[in-house]
């Protein structure tokens, strides 16, 4: 069974800078891959390489076994790969409904007339709890709604592979749970999902595997709990001295100390930050 998404040695250079260097991942249907890393690690660039905004200088992108390396964004969409953008890109002059309908009109298999697409859009909006704001303009939405609109636009394409680029950004902890539940649902429905995040809670709660990027390269790949406790990852995010201090404290406390997840990102409600 070919993987929904596979990249092999995917790389891009801008002049002398290797923004993404030799990333190889596989995502099966119904699996969630988390991608984390400090700012500038190349996470969004990695997504852009796969979804066609940037051409890779080396490597391959395979969607369901088909080679789509360097294909234009609309060809990628036609292959049922959908994405959200880190900085939301709504169509400001269209209603929320029409924003979502665009994807159904052009990206979903079989396309659709305006009326049919609007029907699909209504379904998607219903699922994401946005029916109430369907008539509004995107600029009138709250942050939480705006983030969900971004996801809705992607879902309108009926994707097989879904990229969520910092879909939790700006959300309060209470607003995050519905978003996470949605991801779990989509996973159950068989989508292959790639989640780029800074919010470690999200990573821990929905990802099957986590890829850690640093300076364009893969630092580590593995299950969330392992990865988030790994010293190299802590070093990458918080620096060497902190990692050493953590190691010392953990040794004192007998092996179970705070991991990266507890230091980076918003706290789940009710918990207080561990001392140190």
């Amino acid at each position: 069974m070919t993987a929904a998404l596979e990249t092999r040695d995917l790389s891009v250079r801008f002049g002398g800078l290797k923004a993404v260097d030799g990333i190889s991942v596989t995502v099966e249907d119904g699996r969630v891959l988390g991608v984390i890393g400090p700012n500038g690690a190349g996470k969004s660039t990695f997504i852009n390489l796969i979804t066609g905004q940037i051409r890779p200088t080396r490597g391959k992108v395979l969607v369901g076994g088909r080679d789509l390396t360097g294909a234009k964004p609309w060809k990628i969409a036609a292959a049922r790969v959908a994405r959200t953008f880190q900085i939301n890109k709504p169509f400001r002059g269209l209603s929320v409904r029409d924003n979502v309908a665009i994807g159904a009109m052009f990206g979903a298999p079989g396309g659709g007339s305006v009326a049919k697409a609007r029907g699909v859009a209504d379904e998607v909006l219903e699922r994401l709890g946005l029916s109430g704001v369907a008539e509004l303009g995107p600029t009138e939405l709250s942050v939480a709604h705006a983030q969900r609109l971004e996801v809705a636009k992607a879902l309108a394409l009926r994707p097989r592979v879904l990229f969520l680029d910092e879909a939790m950004a700006g959300l309060r902890p209470a607003e995050m749970e519905p978003q996470l539940e949605l991801i779990r649902e989509l996973r159950r429905e068989g989508l292959a999902i790639v989640v780029v995040e800074h919010v470690m809670r999200a990573i821990r709660s929905v990802c099957d595997t986590v890829l850690v990027m640093q300076e364009g390269r893969e630092l580590l790949t593995g299950p969330p709990d392992e990865v988030l406790a790994d010293e190299r990852v802590i070093t990458a995010y918080l620096g060497q001295r902190y990692a050493e201090r953590q190691r010392a404290e953990r040794a004192e406390a007998g092996g179970s100390g705070p991991a990266v997840a507890d230091q980076v990102g918003p706290r789940p409600e009710g918990e207080t930050r561990a001392p140190g």
């Binding site: 066609g52 964004p73 169509f91 052009f106």
Partner: protein
């Protein structure tokens, strides 16, 4: 670094109706309007259109010949503005070289009729096809550019094409121009005269209006608007932006070429400087924008309004008319940056004159 939209200054809140009906702008989310009122205003709109159409059809009976010529010019410019609207207004690619299709159309007619003794109608078909083809040709490289760059590139192509036409006198007559055989034994098609041309231009205008109206409510129109508002997101949503842009440019080019063809036949003698004049480009842009780019009736309003204004000024202030026209353009751009149609619908919606709103929104 903040993500920049290729078109800075996109206004924040667009709260206009998305119903692509005659009177309302086609960008912006729909308003919850009471159903009865919409139907009534729609009916009123259609009634108005029908009434105007009837007047136009009766024009030769109602008006003097010089006014018929003015009316023909009004129809022609409204058509040009509407054609520009497709690529500039809906798609958001401000072409400053659309006159190249106008000139191409005109010269195709002239060359085919004068040199090869074609009659007008087959030549018109060729002109329209050539207009579309040329749009595809120059669209492929230039539609990769955005904003100012696209504007200048198209301007450059138009000027360059004019130069080329100027420099192949054997075909085009060069700087001396070329004359369409309109009277006497060599005339292949009888000259339609004032009335005939009035109807030709009116028919073309109706075609252009129908085209834009159809585009506005179609998938194609949605694609163009999506490209206009966020090209990256449009591509990610599955829109083949390259194909759509070129298609829009081709439609624009075809209609513009048709206008140029009829114009050439009407003028009988044409010159490169006139047929490829930058002034025509700028006029069509101004008409579309001041009327309301991206709307269905905006360019019609702009074209009609500004052309009549221009005629009036020309006749009554012969020495100063361009000066005054320039001043009016400045005032209109500053006060109505969204165009007259949107201003009107905002006025109706807010029940006040939102003049200062525009100023506040766009000034530094």
């Amino acid at each position: 670094m903040a993500a920049t939209s290729a078109r800075p200054g996109m206004p924040e809140s667009e709260s206009e109706s998305a119903h692509p009906e005659l009177g309302a702008p086609t960008t912006g989310p729909p308003k919850a309007a009471p159903a009865g009122r919409t139907t009534a205003s729609q009916l009123a709109g259609w009634a108005l259109v029908l009434g105007l159409l009837v007047i136009c059809l009766l024009a030769p009976k109602l008006f003097i010949p010089s006014f018929l010529r003015t009316l023909s010019a009004v129809f022609m410019f409204a058509t040009l503005a509407q054609a520009w609207n497709i690529i500039g207004g809906f798609t958001g690619y401000p072409s400053f070289g659309n006159v190249v299709f106008f000139g191409l159309g005109g010269y195709t007619i002239a060359v085919l009729m004068a040199r090869s003794h074609w009659s007008f109608w087959p030549a018109l078909v060729v002109a329209v096809v050539l207009g579309a083809a040329y749009a595809m040709l120059i669209g492929i490289p230039t539609l990769r550019l955005k904003g100012h760059y696209f504007a200048i590139a198209t301007l450059g192509v138009a000027e360059g094409t004019r130069e080329i036409v100027l420099n192949v006198p054997k075909v085009t007559g060069g700087g001396a121009g070329i004359t369409v055989p309109a009277v006497g034994p060599s005339a292949t098609t009888s000259y339609p005269g004032n009335t005939g041309f009035l109807y030709y231009f009116l028919a073309l205008l109706v075609v252009a209006m129908l085209a834009v109206y159809a585009i506005a409510r179609s998938r194609f129109g949605f694609a163009l608007r999506a490209i206009n508002q966020d090209e990256d997101a449009a591509a990610a949503a599955g829109i083949n932006t390259t194909r759509m842009k070129i298609a829009a440019f081709m439609v624009s080019g075809a209609i513009t070429a048709a206008a140029g063809s009829i114009y050439a036949f009407q003028q009988v003698s044409i010159y490169p400087d006139r047929l490829f004049s930058v002034d025509i480009t700028v006029l069509m842009v101004i008409m579309a924008v001041i009327g309301g780019s991206g709307t269905v009736i905006g360019p019609l309003v702009g074209g009609v309004g500004l052309q009549f204004l221009s005629e009036y000024l020309r006749q009554n202030f012969t020495d100063y008319h361009t000066f005054i026209f320039g001043a009016i353009i400045i005032v209109a751009v500053v006060l109505l940056p969204e165009g007259a149609v949107r201003f009107a619908s905002e006025t109706v919606r807010q029940r006040r004159l939102p003049i200062m709103d525009n100023l506040r929104r766009y000034r530094l």
